[in-house]
């Protein structure tokens, strides 16, 4: 019977995030088309094209995950509906997990559209398939989950939705500058930074073999190894899911 409560929160969450997911899905197609057009203008080769597409995917995951997860842990505590919803005989862990799962599964739609359209554009323009497509897709799914867990976890100890929203967007958008400062200038591999783990999405499609250090690249001086990237993403997922559940379950309304 617990399934019914899980379903109720899961469906409600899917419905809540339906509009941003549809919007981001359309945006994904437009971005791939624009990248395709740019590739003609800038005379990209296929590697550069797939590298650009996968970096767009990497960035989009951060943006969309932040957008759909920022409310998960905080909405019941700063909206008056929480007073009635949380007074029901329902396990708060179920509420948190169902919402995280809904946000993650919804995120797979724009993600798949990005991969499909990127793959199709590659076939159309260069007549070659995206290298390591399925490996990259699988890693992107893991990155999507870890980003959802991160933002949902942060939201469960935030007072307002704006806090996890700005945190997630900053985390996603400023990542390249963090890489540049830490990697290129200080020589520190940013293994503790989630977007660094996510960089593997691009790493596996953009080169015939993975270059861990790229001396000529300011922004992506270091690229993680696959096992290293998976470890970073799994650790983030576990830590922030546990933090989110604990805070959400104990929080007072």
């Amino acid at each position: 019977m617990k399934n019914l409560a899980f379903r109720a929160f899961f469906h409600a969450e899917l419905k809540r995030i339906k509009s941003p997911i549809i919007a981001f899905s359309f945006l994904s197609v437009i971005i791939v088309i624009l990248t395709g057009l740019l590739s003609f203008k800038a005379v990209f080769n296929s590697t550069e094209f797939f590298e650009s597409i996968s970096l767009v995917i990497w960035l989009m995951i951060g943006l969309v995950a932040t957008n759909v997860s920022a409310g998960i842990g905080v909405m019941d505590f700063n909206e008056k509906a929480g007073l009635i919803v949380l007074s029901q005989p329902v396990d708060r862990k179920i509420i948190f997990f169902s919402r995280v799962l809904a946000a993650f599964l919804a995120l797979i739609l724009p993600l798949s559209i990005l991969y499909l359209s990127g793959f199709a554009a590659g076939e159309l323009i260069y007549k070659i398939a995206m290298p390591n497509l399925f490996l990259s897709y699988g890693l992107a799914i893991l990155y999507a989950f870890s980003f959802v867990a991160l933002v949902a976890g942060v939201s469960s100890f935030s007072k307002e939705k704006s806090a996890p929203l700005s945190f997630g967007l900053t985390f996603a958008l400023l990542a390249v500058f963090v890489f540049a400062v830490l990697g290129r200038f200080l020589g520190i591999e940013p293994w503790f930074f989630l977007p660094y783990g996510g960089l593997i999405i691009s790493g596996v499609v953009s080169a015939p073999y993975l270059m861990h250090i790229n001396p000529g690249n300011y922004f992506f001086y270091y690229v993680p190894y696959i096992s290293e990237a998976i470890l970073i993403m799994v650790v983030y997922s576990v830590i922030f899911t546990i933090l989110g559940v604990v805070y959400y379950s104990r929080r007072e309304v």
């Binding site: 019914l4 929480g82 009635i84 919803v85 029901q88 007072e252 309304v253």
Partner: protein, 242 residues
């Protein structure tokens, strides 16, 4: 049907909202839970609804500790601190959502929603809750509270935000429900309390200052001090003129 508080205490930082209160209410009927703003009424309701945890002490519903809220709250429905439905849901979606959380089957849920629609004169069920007036939102929330048909109801100012006609409807519903349920009602409207309640508990500064049947409260604390009645007794009690 029983609601019991044992040395219930709640602190927020250095301030004390509930100071070791004890009560044990049993059976059917409406119990008025009265007190000035900041007395600790909503804090009590929040603890009983598992919205906040007590600093110390314990509360029980039908003998089950609130610590085991999944079991204790199965037969309780609460309206605490002016809640609102989710603004992006329609009235029907919100009621179905609450029904699903309460594990109601589809047939019972549809039947209950239809009953409550008529009883509470709810607007078009397909209207978004975010577009409703304050009074209509309050009626949707009351519908959500009554939906699972629990034996115990915790109602914190249920007629707040309603116009006199709407409040009249709610009072009539409560009069009907008190025959079969145990209702703990908080209200600042003493006429409403006198009309509905059988027994009252008065709380001030986190402590219970009086409790008893309305007649005996009036007799003990309101008699012989100007105008008679619950209002006088209440004022005498909370202003310490005794």
């Amino acid at each position: 049907m029983e609601i019991r508080a044992v040395n219930l205490t709640k602190r927020f930082g250095s301030s004390i909202a509930l100071d070791s209160i004890n009560f044990d209410i049993k059976g059917k009927g409406i119990i008025g839970y009265l007190g000035p703003n900041g007395a600790g009424k909503t804090t009590t309701f929040k603890i009983l609804s598992n919205l906040i945890k007590p600093t110390s002490g314990e509360a029980f519903i039908n003998g089950i500790s609130i610590k085991n809220h999944m079991e204790a709250l199965k037969n309780v429905s609460s309206l605490v601190d002016d809640p609102e439905p989710y603004s992006d849901m329609t009235i029907r979606e919100f009621l179905e959502f609450i029904g699903m959380i309460r594990r109601m089957d589809d047939k019972t849920l549809s039947k209950r929603i239809e009953e409550l629609r008529k009883e509470l004169r709810l607007e078009d069920l397909n209207k978004k809750c975010g577009n409703l007036s304050k009074g209509n939102k309050q009626r949707v929330v009351i519908a959500a509270v009554l939906l699972p048909d629990t034996d115990i109801l915790l109602l914190d100012e249920p007629t707040s935000g309603l116009d006199p006609a709407e409040a009249y409807d709610i009072k009539n519903i409560l009069k009907k429900l008190k025959k079969t349920k145990l209702i703990m009602l908080s209200s600042h409207l003493l006429d409403e309390v006198r009309e509905l309640c059988d027994y009252v508990i008065l709380i001030d500064k986190g402590k219970i200052i009086a409790e008893g049947r309305i007649g005996s409260i009036i007799k003990k604390f309101g008699k012989g001090r100007g105008e008679k009645g619950l209002e006088k007794a209440y004022i005498n009690l909370v202003r310490g003129k005794l």
